[in-house]
Structure formats: structure tokens, C-alpha cells
């Protein structure tokens, strides 16, 4: 019986190993995860780590150097374009591998592979929208052009050069936590990342919501709730400078008045995972006549979802054909928002509606044929293979019509109360386009002509591309390829039984509104209408923001002798122009004599508020709470009739409605027999708001910084890897448009003097590793409105004290 102790002790050992080597639910295998030589400890980077090394990499053509500066910003010096993009891919992978791959999983609808069946709905949304289909087409376009093919191939090879040498213990911590390994990078993944951005920037639509509102309340009422213009309009291009004869004369199909606008057919699809409707941005460029230095200054701050690791990665890429510095996207080659030795460039979102739905009539449940232009037309099927975490496969069969993929049907219940209808989606991001080239060309651009050549490559997502050059030129163009639409086309679900409701063509690029060296001395955009929508030959669709643009133009019109400091002040300005217009109405109608002591306290605070979104003040909070309370009182009775409470019209509609006429028809509560007035609504709203304020005040949460509660979440929502404690100024209508989890994702100011002087910052850090001091080290300075000088290094500055490490690479 002497072997019994051997068996027992061996069994216990093996059992312990199995227990500690197994993933229990979301918990990682503790033995592996905690082992100091394998697990997370290996990701705990020494704070004084020396990143310098000599590397031999396969596929590199010539020796090259990468200088890492004190903020861990790499400065690549390569001998040719291919090596430059190769090294960019290598660095993106070295510092941001998990993030760049995770984003492509999200884009491709592969989240179920990581989290199992609870990701299925999300994945099917992405597959049925045709994300992979669109990316496959984009790869084909990318690989057709020799320049973009070489760029993408080099980038992919660089990413893979890093992945193939990666040891298990060096895997980014998220792989260890979630239990998977990186795949090799491909050009398809680069394309998927582009579609990820297209979805974020050009994927927003409210077609189903609008259809229901129109059907339940009638077109006339809908039209008042969602008008196609705004009173306080200050479009990007002030007057239509082109005065052209439109290349396409769009006509609404005959009978669309009754069949479309006054149709009362409702739909019951609820779209989840919507892109953020707040995706917006500011950019402006002033010419030398307005600056202290006499040279142009270009500024840009794209407002996007804020996450860690950040969407952006800062770098300089230098090779004989170009030398560019700026923000790059881990997942794509090139500098995206930045500057080179001659000029600077930036973007804001064009906001146009390029995603529409058509109702399809299939012959039967097999979906093999659909009715189109008077005959049964065969369907194409695309089989989407979704792999679940346990390796089982879910096959989603998606029907493709002449309009696009059928996103919603009987089989995709998603969040839909099924009504057995079929809706195909027509999305501009499915069309041909080689967007890599715009960045490649902008990085190389030397003058205005190069800029014009570059922006031609942009199809989707449409952007207001801003430009300034050392020779003094400034320009902006509302760029992209947009469908030429008739009024209200695509705002509602359209009939899909023939071609009459299809997009009738694309607006010729030569007709995109632009401005070049205008007399006023500046160009700007902040997601407002590109031109006056009432005089535009094409219907613009989409949701536009007007208040930031209003302020930017007001300030820039007044400013002269502008220096960099002034631009920093402007980018971080917290003045709320919306409140400035709304408060007088509130003050006029709130009956202060009827208020109790508590209410009076908040009334006084609101009255004396300086109209800035200041973190440590209460005024911005009281205003917001009051406005939200008013909004609910005014709209919810109508919205409830359409069973859509909370789907509020734009704030500008209510504000302009009550500014125009205090008898604004929606102030009446349609559920009561009497006729309510604005005065009644407002007093009720304020009393409700005061109660909310009092409760928040008691919990110490009424200060704007606390109420706004800005946080930067880790991409996989792992709280300890997030920054949840940011107490900063700014808000929706301010130029400094910081919101809960959204805001200026990269602030950049470039003064194009002989020696470029540039500043920038983003809320994150250069390393994607939560165990690195460089993971989130920019966050506090970003929250405080500070900037870092952007150092365009030259090769002979190798011994500059800012250089902290040198990576020398040679061909393997």
C-alpha cells in the first residue's frame, strides 16, 4: 500500500494544476495569469524601461532608425515609403496590438468568438449591415492601385513582423485576461478598420424612428418637429460660392407624396449599437492676415468616443518622399490628422445621411426571389459564419438585393418586435473607394493643388477637410461622395419594389462646397450644414450641429493678431451659446414670486451663471436639468402617441420654436383638455428641475464636473484599466465639447511659420499597456486643457536630450 501516498499527492498536484490552469467564467486561469514569469506580471513594465534595441526584421529593404522621445512618441527615419509604412505597422503592433485587433473583431462582427453567445446580436448587426462585405470590396479597390497596395502590404508586413516574434509572456494583458491569441494581420483587417470608422462617422441614421413618428403623428407634425433647416444657421460655406448648375437634377418619384411622405405604415425595428450621434468636431484655419506671425494657423479637434487605449497614436514618419507628424490610427497606415514640412490638414465629420432602408417583397419565405421593377428577381445569398467562443458555428444567411443586404427579416429578431417585413440597407460605405490614398497623398502634399488631388480619394465617410500651407493658402472642402437626394429622400423607410426610390446618382465631386483663401481670412467647420439647406440643389439629410460653428465663426471674425495661445484658449473655450439664447426665455417666464426658498436658490444661481460649463460651478448643471425637464414636458405627450418617448427632436427645434413664438404649438399637452402655455410648462419644468437639483446637491453631485461625469473607459470595459475620475470643464454646445464618454479626442494647433510650431494632446498615452506609465499619462493634462509641443525632429537631432531611446532596425 506504499504507493497510496504517491497517488494521493500526485493527484492533488495534478488537480491543483488543472484548477489553476482553467478559465472559470470570466476569471483567467490563475496559475498562468499570476505566474511572475508568464502572466500579468510580465506586463508590469519597469517605469524606467529602456525601449532602445537593435532589431533585425524580415522584409525591410534598408536600415532605418526609430527615435522614441520623452513622451514615447516615435520618430521613424526610413529610406523609402515602404519601409516607413512597414515600421509604422511594426510600432502600432508593438504598442497597440490588442486594441487594433479588437477593433477589427468589432468591425467584422466577431465579438462572439471572444465572449460567446451574448455577442451574437451585435455580430449579426455588423454582418447584416455588410461590414465584411464592404471591407472585402475595399481591399479589392486598395489592391488595384499600386501605391495603396504597396502601402497596405508594407504596413501589414510590419504588423506581422511584430506578431510573429511575440512570446507568450509578452502578449498584451487583455489577451491573457480574455484567453485568446492574436492572428496575423491582413490588408482585410486594415479595410475593416476603415469600415469601423465609416460606421462610426457615416453610419448614423434614424430612418425607423422617423418612419414611425411620421406615420403616427402625420407628416405635417413630423416636419415641424424635425425641420430641415435652423434659424441660427451659419453654414460652413456662407454663400454658395459655386453658383453652379447642378450636374444631377433630382426628382421625387411620382406619387411619393401619398406613397411616401403621407404613408402611415409603421415599422417595429429598433436599431441598437448606434454610432454616437454626438460624433462631431471642430476645425479651422486662419490666414496670415489674421495672425501675429503672418503665417497661417490650422486647428483641429475631432470629437469621438473616448476610450483607453486611445483611438489615436502619435508619431512622426520621415522618409525621402515625405516627412509627416500627427495622429495616426493603430490599424491603418499614414498620418491622419497632422502636418508635414509644407502644410497641415484636418477633418470634421460631414454628418450627411448616407444610410437608407428599402422595404423588400420576397416571393416566399425562402427569400430566393424578390419583386423588382415588375418581375421576380433572384436574390444573392451571403453566408456569414459566426464562430462562438466554444468553437461552434452560427451561420447567418443574408439576402443581398439590388439595394443592398437585407438587414432585418424574420430570422433577425435582434431587438425587434417582428412584423414579418424585410428591410434592405443601402449604405454608401458599400461602394467603391480607396480611402487609404487620401492620407497617403495628404502626407505627401506640398501645396493646394496636391491637397485637391488628395481629397478626391475620399468617398466615405464624408469629411470637411481643412488645409493650410506655408505659402499662405488656406482651404476647406465638404468632401466625400454623397448621394444626390430629393427632399426627405431616405429620411423614412422607402418602398423597394422598383427603382423609383433608389438614389438617382452621386453628386459630382466638383460640386462639393469648398472655400479657398476667402476674404474673411479664415475657414472653419463644426458639423453644421455645409451650405444653406434651403437653397442647396440637393437634399442634405442628416443631423447637423450649429452652435459650436456659430461661436467659432463669431470669435474668428473678431480676432486679429492671433497667436498660438489664443488658439489654445479658443479650443478649450467653455462658453455655452445655446444657454445664452435659451436663458432669457427661461428667466422671462419662470415666475420667481411663486418659488419656495430652495427653488429660489437655484433660480438665483441660474440667473447669475456666467454661461460657461465650469467643472466647479452649478450653473451649467441647473440649466441642463431645467432644459431637460422642459424638453420632456413639451415633447413626451406627442412622442408617447407614437410610442417613442425620449426620442426628442433636436434642442435647436424647441429653442427656435419658443424664440419665434411663445405659443409654439407643442407646448400644449395633447393629453389634457385645456391648452397649456409656455409659462405653465416652464414653471412646472423648473419646479421639477429644482427638486432634482436639491437631491443632487445633497449628494454633492450638482457641480458640473460631477454631473457631467466624464470618463474614459477601457475598450473591453475593464474598470481598473479605465479612468473614471475626470472632473473637467466643457460641454455639448461649447467649442470644448467634452461629454460623458465623448469629446475632443485629439487637439492640435499648427502654426505654419518657416519652422513649424505645433501643439497637441489626446486623452490617453502612447502605450496600450495598462501596466505602463505611458498608458494614460496625457489624461490629466488633457483634462486641464494643456498641450504638448509637437516635435518635428530632424535626423541631425539624434543627440537631442528629448531622445530617450533609439531602435535601430536592419534587414534580417
Amino acid at each position: 500500500m506504499k504507493f497510496v501516498p504517491v497517488l494521493i499527492s500526485s493527484a492533488i498536484t495534478i488537480l491543483l494544476i488543472i484548477i489553476f490552469n482553467t478559465r472559470w467564467g470570466v476569471a483567467p486561469p490563475f496559475g498562468e495569469f499570476l505566474s511572475p514569469q508568464h502572466g500579468f506580471w510580465q506586463n508590469a513594465e519597469p517605469v524606467d524601461k529602456d525601449f532602445g534595441q537593435d532589431l533585425q526584421l524580415p522584409g525591410l529593404k534598408d536600415p532605418a532608425e526609430i527615435y522614441l522621445d520623452d513622451r514615447l512618441v516615435p520618430h521613424i527615419f526610413a529610406s523609402n515609403d515602404d519601409d516607413a509604412f512597414y515600421l509604422q505597422g511594426f510600432l502600432h503592433a508593438k504598442f497597440r496590438l490588442w486594441q487594433m485587433e479588437f477593433q477589427t473583431y468589432a468591425a467584422a462582427g466577431r465579438v462572439s468568438e471572444l465572449i460567446g453567445p451574448k455577442g451574437l446580436n451585435y455580430d449579426r448587426q455588423k454582418r447584416r449591415l455588410g461590414m465584411v462585405y464592404a471591407a472585402e470590396k475595399a481591399v479589392a479597390d486598395m489592391e488595384k492601385d499600386t501605391v495603396s497596395k504597396a502601402t497596405a502590404d508594407s504596413y501589414t508586413a510590419g504588423v506581422n513582423a511584430y506578431i510573429t516574434t511575440l512570446k507568450e509572456s509578452d502578449l498584451p494583458i487583455e489577451y491573457k485576461l480574455l484567453g485568446y491569441r492574436p492572428e496575423l494581420w491582413t490588408n482585410l483587417k486594415t479595410a475593416l478598420f476603415q469600415k469601423f470608422m465609416s460606421l462610426d462617422l457615416a453610419g448614423f441614421e434614424t430612418d425607423f424612428e422617423f418612419t414611425n413618428l411620421r406615420s403616427m403623428l402625420g407628416y405635417a407634425t413630423f416636419n415641424k418637429m424635425f425641420p430641415i433647416s435652423q434659424d441660427s444657421l451659419d453654414p460652413i460655406i456662407p454663400a454658395d460660392t459655386l453658383n453652379h448648375v447642378p450636374g444631377i437634377i433630382v426628382k421625387a418619384p411620382p406619387g411619393s407624396d401619398s406613397a411616401y411622405l403621407h404613408n402611415n405604415d409603421t415599422v417595429s425595428v429598433q436599431v441598437t449599437n448606434k454610432p454616437d450621434k454626438d460624433n462631431g468636431s471642430n476645425n479651422w484655419a486662419v490666414s496670415g492676415i489674421k495672425t501675429k506671425s503672418g503665417s497661417p494657423i490650422l486647428c483641429n479637434d475631432p470629437h469621438l468616443g473616448l476610450n483607453l487605449p486611445s483611438l489615436w497614436y502619435e508619431m512622426q514618419i520621415s522618409c525621402p518622399s515625405f516627412n509627416a507628424y500627427g495622429a495616426t490610427f493603430p490599424g491603418a497606415p499614414g498620418v491622419i490628422i497632422g502636418f508635414n514640412d509644407s502644410c497641415a490638414f484636418g477633418f470634421t465629420n460631414a454628418m450627411r445621411d448616407v444610410r437608407d432602408y428599402y422595404e423588400i417583397t420576397f416571393k416566399d419565405d425562402s427569400r430566393k426571389e424578390y419583386w423588382y421593377n415588375g418581375q421576380w428577381t433572384p436574390t444573392d445569398f451571403r453566408f456569414e459564419h459566426i464562430i462562438l467562443k466554444d468553437s461552434t458555428e452560427y451561420i447567418d444567411t443574408v439576402a443581398y438585393t439590388v439595394f443592398g443586404p437585407v438587414m432585418y427579416d424574420k430570422s433577425f429578431s435582434g431587438s425587434r418586435k417582428t412584423n414579418n417585413k424585410y428591410y434592405a440597407v443601402r449604405w454608401k460605405a458599400h461602394d467603391a473607394g480607396n480611402e487609404l490614398m487620401i492620407f497617403n497623398r495628404l502626407d505627401h502634399a506640398k501645396n493646394y493643388a496636391d491637397y485637391l488631388e488628395a481629397i478626391k480619394w475620399l468617398h466615405t465617410p464624408g469629411q470637411n477637410v481643412i488645409f493650410a500651407c506655408k505659402n499662405g493658402d488656406i482651404a476647406i472642402s465638404a468632401q466625400g461622395e454623397f448621394p444626390a437626394k430629393w427632399k426627405r429622400q431616405g429620411d423614412f423607410v422607402m418602398p423597394g419594389t422598383d427603382s423609383s426610390y433608389m438614389w438617382q446618382g452621386m453628386i459630382p465631386q466638383s460640386e462639393n462646397p469648398y472655400m479657398y483663401n476667402p476674404e474673411r481670412g479664415f475657414v472653419s467647420s463644426a458639423n453644421q450644414y455645409p451650405v444653406n439647406p434651403l437653397t442647396s440643389p440637393y437634399y442634405l439629410g442628416g443631423e447637423y450641429h450649429n452652435y459650436r460653428g456659430l461661436m467659432i465663426n463669431r470669435y474668428l471674425n473678431q480676432m486679429t493678431e492671433i497667436g498660438i495661445e489664443d488658439m489654445m484658449k479658443l479650443q478649450t473655450d467653455t462658453y455655452n451659446p445655446f444657454a445664452a439664447m435659451a436663458r432669457p426665455v427661461l428667466m422671462k417666464f419662470i415666475d420667481s414670486a411663486s418659488l419656495n426658498t430652495d427653488e429660489l436658490k437655484y433660480y438665483e444661481l441660474l440667473k447669475d451663471w456666467d454661461l460657461h460649463y465650469e467643472a466647479d460651478g452649478k450653473g451649467a448643471s441647473i440649466f441642463n436639468i431645467t432644459w431637460d425637464s422642459l424638453k420632456a414636458i413639451v415633447w413626451n405627450d406627442d412622442l408617447e402617441k407614437a410610442n417613442m418617448p425620449g426620442f426628442y427632436p433636436y434642442n435647436s427645434t424647441l429653442l427656435e420654436g419658443i424664440l419665434r413664438d411663445t405659443a409654439f404649438e407643442f407646448v400644449d399637452n395633447i393629453k389634457t383638455p385645456e391648452k397649456e402655455t409656455l409659462r405653465q410648462d416652464l414653471n412646472l419644468a423648473f419646479k421639477k428641475a429644482a427638486k432634482t437639483c436639491k437631491n443632487l446637491d445633497r449628494e454633492g453631485k450638482l457641480n458640473w464636473g460631477k454631473l457631467k461625469d466624464t470618463h474614459i473607459e477601457h475598450l473591453a470595459k475593464i474598470d481598473p484599466f479605465s479612468r473614471l475620475d475626470i472632473d473637467n470643464s466643457g460641454g455639448e454646445y461649447a467649442i470644448n465639447s467634452v461629454k460623458k464618454d465623448h469629446g475632443p479626442s485629439w487637439r492640435m494647433i499648427v502654426q505654419l511659420t518657416k519652422n513649424t510650431e505645433a501643439y497637441g494632446i489626446y486623452p490617453g498615452g502612447q502605450s496600450g499597456n495598462p501596466g505602463s506609465p505611458y498608458y494614460d499619462n496625457f489624461v490629466d493634462n488633457w483634462a486641464g486643457g494643456k498641450y504638448y509641443p509637437l516635435w518635428m525632429m530632424s535626423k541631425d537631432e539624434e543627440t537631442d536630450k528629448r531622445v530617450k531611446a533609439i531602435i535601430r532596425v536592419t534587414k534580417l
Partner: protein
Amino acid sequence: MVKYILSILVTALMAFVSGLYMPWWGIAIAAFLVSAAIPQKPAFSFLSGFLGVFLLWEVLAWWIDNKNNGILSQKISTLIGLGGSSVLLIVVTSIIGALVAGFAALAGTYLRRLIYPVPPPEKV
């Protein structure tokens, strides 16, 4: 006494080497081999395996954490419910490795005894 200290140190060393070439459970093989090679009483062999890896992981984790200023250990400690304490995380880390190594060492000693039976103690 010297034998036990020696076996603790050799276990730590072998466990470290295993970590360079093997998955984390290489520590079990290291502890097993050491106690199969060095004759020890079962209780002491468990303790030497346990302490060998406990010390190794404690020192490694502490060393890494110290150079990292505790940036990551605090986050992980919060994540797995240890309240953000780096010290506690280092101790939990070490105990997990130590338990595995302790039982593996015990198995090694029993196996040795199976092959080379210990002579019964002389009667007084």
C-alpha cells in the same frame, strides 16, 4: 537543516529555469524532481517545495512590482477583488505557486520512498 535549505534553494532555482522554457506548471516538475533527488521527510519536503516556489514568486513579483511602481498590481488587485492591495496580490500569487509546488514535492518524496524504502528506525 542544510539539506532543507539546499532543497529550498534548488527548488527555487529549478522552478525559475522551468519558467524560462515551460508553461507555469513547470514549477511542479521542478519541485517534484528536487524532492525525488534529495531524501527528505514528507512534511519537510512539502515545506521545502512550498517555500522554494513561495520565495521565488514572492521575490520575482516584488521585484517586478517595485520597478513598476505598483501601477499594474494595483489595477489587477482591484480587478480580482483584492481591494487594490499590491502586497496582498503578491502574497496570493506566491501561495498559488507554492501550493502546487508543495504537493508536487510531496509526491516526489513519496515516489522516492517507493523506490528506495527508508530503513525502519533502529530499536533502542
